[in-house]
């Protein structure tokens, strides 16, 4: 059930988009910035096709935290935990693009439409990343 006030991040495809509006939950382009909303927020419907079964390793979570902290210029004593919600961190659309880019580079993955998933917390981002890393390894 969609929760209107939930904040979640959808990793938008960063490839040159020739795709137009799609209704299967796939998106391209970046969420616009609005005041007071979860800046990385999107409809929080979780697609059951992409349910992640294993929680990500702490190292992955920590790397996500580092990247997000750096991108959003959060002070070192800002405590970011795996449960930290992206919505509370004040990222705008420019930040979102950069964070996703950094994560793609750091983990050498490509977050494309087929893999996109709604992410509300740091843990969920890390989970998705590990899933993509695994998929890439399996495909190789």
């Amino acid at each position: 059930m969609a929760t209107v006030s939930a904040a979640s991040v959808r990793f938008a495809s960063l490839k040159p988009a020739s795709r137009s509006n799609q209704t299967n939950g796939v998106t391209s382009g970046v969420k616009f910035v609005t005041i007071g909303t979860s800046k990385l927020s999107f409809p929080s419907l979780r697609s059951s096709r992409f349910r992640v079964h294993c929680a990500a390793k702490p190292e992955t979570v920590n790397k996500v935290i580092d990247i997000v902290k750096k991108q959003l210029a959060l002070s070192d004593d800002t405590s970011l935990t795996p449960e930290s919600k992206f919505s509370s961190l004040g990222a705008d659309s420019l930040d979102t693009v950069e964070i996703v880019m950094c994560l793609e580079e750091e983990f050498d993955i490509s977050v494309d439409e087929d893999n996109s998933q709604n992410i509300t917390t740091v843990q969920e981002a890390a989970d998705l990343i590990e899933k993509l890393v695994l998929q890439k390894a399996e495909a190789a």
Partner: protein, 286 residues
């Protein structure tokens, strides 16, 4: 109908309070462009707490869940602008105003409104030192503010390159030819600002590809948008420099079912921004 109404009114210069003077009488026209410079508001904790308490609990929670104080400040001022504007334009008592958010996070007025403001809509934005709001009675309106910030972790070019999927070849060419890296950065931000204003006006979320939009302009005036290669006659844009580091763009467009003939609103000149202070907004809302 609205179009007929407006086209028959002798439009005197629309002054900054967003009213039209008709035969000596002032008529509310529903158009506002407000800005607050939040670098000029530095409340103590106690003052901040007292301003937050003006709002209902759900709004308070939405404001306080931000980690950084600057974000809390922006969220609070944004709400002050929203409630203050709705109160002033539509006359709804502050405690009766209900503002919800779409699934994409866009705030909108939940209260039902009568003609002639039945399509009244507004949009808010913030970046850097400014928080702003724009409202229109009939046209869809989108506002985006950008603060041109020198990237810290990378060069200007590296930074701009992150956004290459969202710009068209023409736009890239213009950015590349803008001059120094600072000028290229500013050029990029102006394009981004316009794209965001459009997407926000239509209330789109992620399922809109920014690279479908191509902005044409003559020195940043006469801005028009090509959507999927076709020039749109239903949208007007303006870009304003707020100060050395901040720009704001307004997107105004006809609601879906309207055609150009029925709404002459679009041809009205763009209203300039009015600067408001937090203190004024608070007394408006109180």
């Amino acid at each position: 109908m609205m179009g007929i109404l407006f086209s028959r009114i002798l439009i005197t210069p629309i002054d900054f309070v967003g009213v039209v003077t008709v035969g000596g009488l002032e008529m509310e026209n529903g158009v506002r462009r407000w800005l607050v410079n939040i670098s000029q508001w530095n409340p103590s904790e106690a003052q901040f707490a007292s301003v937050i308490s003006l709002f209902r609990v759900d709004e308070q929670t939405a404001i306080t869940r931000y980690i950084k104080f600057e974000d809390k400040k922006r969220a609070l001022v944004s709400r002050l602008l929203q409630y203050s504007l709705v109160h002033e334009v539509l006359g709804i008592p502050s405690d009766k105003i209900i503002i919800h958010r779409t699934a994409e996070g866009k705030p909108y007025l939940k209260n039902s409104i009568d003609f002639p403001f039945s399509n009244f809509n507004f949009n808010v934005s913030h970046h850097g030192d400014y928080v702003g709001i724009a409202s229109e009675p009939l046209c869809l309106v989108g506002l985006d503010i950008v603060s041109i910030t020198t990237p810290k972790q990378e060069t200007e070019l590296e930074f701009i390159n992150n956004f290459s999927p969202y710009l068209t070849a023409l736009e890239w060419k213009n950015i590349a030819h803008a001059g120094s890296s600072e000028e290229m950065l500013a050029e990029f931000y102006r394009y981004w600002c316009l794209k965001e204003a459009f997407v926000k006006a239509i209330g789109a979320g992620l399922d809109y590809g920014l690279c479908r939009l191509e902005f044409h302009h003559t020195n940043w005036t006469g801005v028009s948008v090509y959507i999927d290669g076709v020039e749109s006659k239903k949208w007007r844009f303006s870009l304003s420099k707020l100060d050395e580091k901040h720009w704001a763009s307004i997107a105004r467009g006809l609601p879906n079912k309207a055609n150009e003939l029925c709404c002459s609103d679009l041809s009205l000149p763009e209203l300039g921004f009015t600067f408001r202070t937090v203190e004024e907004l608070i007394s408006n809302v109180n």
